[in-house]
């Protein structure tokens, strides 16, 4: 096993200035983790195991992550919206033999593993016990896949590489995140807080935006991160006036000029920065000049160990921050022959800057949730009157994009009243089979759809 330079727990010190993790119902003094445990003194049972983190709350997840880094052989982080149907497959792929739960974790057959440890949002003194230090493999789930999510392998080193040692900020730092820390974007914020000696305000499931913002205000948030959609929602809340962060960060979706300008206007004293990151590629860069897109010069040379190039319009990234592979049998290669990750994000050069122009393969990003049009088309095509369909993005000032569908009907039902009925039927079919964000906001009946020479539907970026 490789030498382990540092674990998350090494970043916690009993003697450090007081700092906290907060959620809606609990406050935990992080420094107590230096000699304490949130796992009821059962950490040793998890040593060397492949552990699935299945807590219901972000707070218990945060505490368990600090304890398990460097102790578990492998750590699989389940996001809160993981489908029950996928649990068995994910746990098998991770070869998991232990699970960490909390008192809100639902009882699932897939969690019947040899070791089952409960995490509580309270720290008790830990028995002193030297455990071997391992280079824990961190498995994160992607959001972009139809079917079972892909599992992406990271390490402490790859996850913390974007957080430079020189980034320790002066003064009291309180991080907040609109993201869940069990996805890459939110995990980066959690790690910044842990490594930087900061406190962290976490949201609770189903917490109203106004309450979350009020808590961020109460704890004096100084650094706050979310997707452009999160920020648009926050800007619609009167409670936004209660916070005054020094650093405002966007990532996870295209940050357009309108949202950057709105945040600049709302927080004139703050640094507003947008970061480009994905679960596979890691954090590639941060842009701090208040402009959408990124300077073309970013591609010319190695920047902080990150190399980028554009191949067929798609951004490729090579750095020590990328994931190493997809986990499981018959998974695609994550890195190309030269060690670059193809992000699938299409960029266009406009006036010396690259701007994002959508996703290769037509993946649509709806408020940070990635949607494969093919998945929706498959549902629409089940309707007996549908000959073929094309799902495409419609721009939205709220969520960045929504999905709309063009359908070609079989000739016998082209009467207008029959068309209305068919459209309603298709929508009912979609509502029954798909999560809300995948239901088309509008359906148009069209006479035909373009089919390319490859025999595939022509998908153009709209």
């Amino acid at each position: 096993m490789a030498h382990v330079a540092r674990t998350l727990r090494d970043c916690i010190s009993h003697a450090a200035p007081a700092r906290f993790f907060w959620d809606r119902s609990a406050q935990v003094s992080v420094n107590h983790l230096a000699h304490g445990t949130s796992l009821g003194n059962r950490l040793a049972e998890l040593a060397g195991r492949s552990v699935v983190l299945a807590t219901s709350s972000q707070l218990t997840a945060a505490l368990a992550l600090v304890e398990l880094d460097g102790v578990a052989r492998r750590l699989t982080i389940l996001p809160p919206d993981t489908a029950t149907d996928h649990l068995g497959e994910l746990i098998a792929r991770a070869e998991a033999d232990a699970v960490v739960i909390d008192d809100g974790t639902p009882d699932r057959p897939a969690f019947a593993l040899p070791v089952r440890v409960a995490c509580a949002p309270a720290i008790v003194p830990a028995e002193k016990r030297a455990l071997p230090r391992l280079a824990t493999e961190w498995l994160l789930l992607t959001s972009g896949t139809s079917g079972v999510p892909k599992m992406v392998a990271h390490s402490h080193a790859s996850l913390t590489a974007p957080i430079g040692a020189g980034r320790r900020l002066d003064g009291l730092v309180v991080w907040g995140t609109f993201y869940d820390i069990r996805r890459y974007g939110g995990l980066q914020i959690f790690l910044r807080a842990v490594l930087g000696g900061a406190s962290l305000v976490l949201s609770s499931a189903d917490e109203p935006v106004a309450e979350h913002l009020a808590r961020l205000a109460r704890y004096g948030v100084t650094h706050l991160s979310g997707t452009p959609s999160h920020w648009r929602r926050a800007l619609m809340s009167p409670a936004i006036s209660g916070i005054a962060p020094r650093y405002v960060r966007l990532s996870g979706e295209i940050a357009d000029q309108a949202i950057l300008d709105s945040l600049r206007a709302a927080f004139p004293e703050a640094n507003v920065g947008h970061a480009y990151a994905s679960t596979e590629a890691g954090v590639a860069f941060e842009v701090g000049d208040g402009m959408a897109g990124f300077p073309a010069s970013f591609l010319d040379h190695d920047r902080d160990g990150v190399e980028m190039k554009v191949v067929d319009g798609s951004l490729r990234i090579r750095s020590s921050r990328t994931a190493s592979r997809y986990v499981g049998a018959q998974q695609p290669e994550l890195l190309d022959g030269d060690g670059f990750v193809d992000t699938g994000d299409m960029v266009e050069l406009r006036g010396g800057r690259y701007v994002f122009a959508g996703r290769k393969g037509g993946i649509i990003n709806i408020g940070g949730l990635k949607v494969h049009p093919e998945e929706i088309e498959a549902v629409i095509n089940r309707h007996p009157q549908v000959r073929m369909s094309l799902v495409r993005p419609k721009k939205s000032p709220v969520t960045g994009a929504l999905v709309i569908a063009d359908v070609v009907l079989r000739t016998e039902c082209s009467r207008p009243d029959a068309q209305t009925q068919v459209k309603d039927d298709i929508l009912a079919l979609c509502r029954a089979a798909l999560p809300r964000h995948k239901v088309p906001v509008a359906i148009s009946v069209v006479p035909s759809l373009d089919v390319a020479a490859t025999g595939k539907l022509s998908r153009r970026h709209g």
């Binding site: 619609m236 009167p238 709105s262 709806i366 939205s396 000032p397 709220v398």
Partner: protein, 87 residues
Amino acid sequence: MNKIKLTIMDQMAQVAREHSKTLAPLRDDLVLLESGLDSLGFAVLVARLEDTLGVDPFTAAEDAVFPLTFGDFVKVYENGARSANAA
């Protein structure tokens, strides 16, 4: 009550039904985020209103607008309709 406001109220009720959300009584001082619709609900509402009213004042505006209350929201559409007619 004017046509724009009525259309918005109808569409909000429709979107709330489709998303299984309970809509709060639509008074002018109702804070939008407390109306019962979430981000996705508002995104769908704005798209539907673009179809029925023929204008998306949020995308059309030079500066981004973030209405806080239901009354603000209606005003954005009334102003949007005026500038669309003037153009």
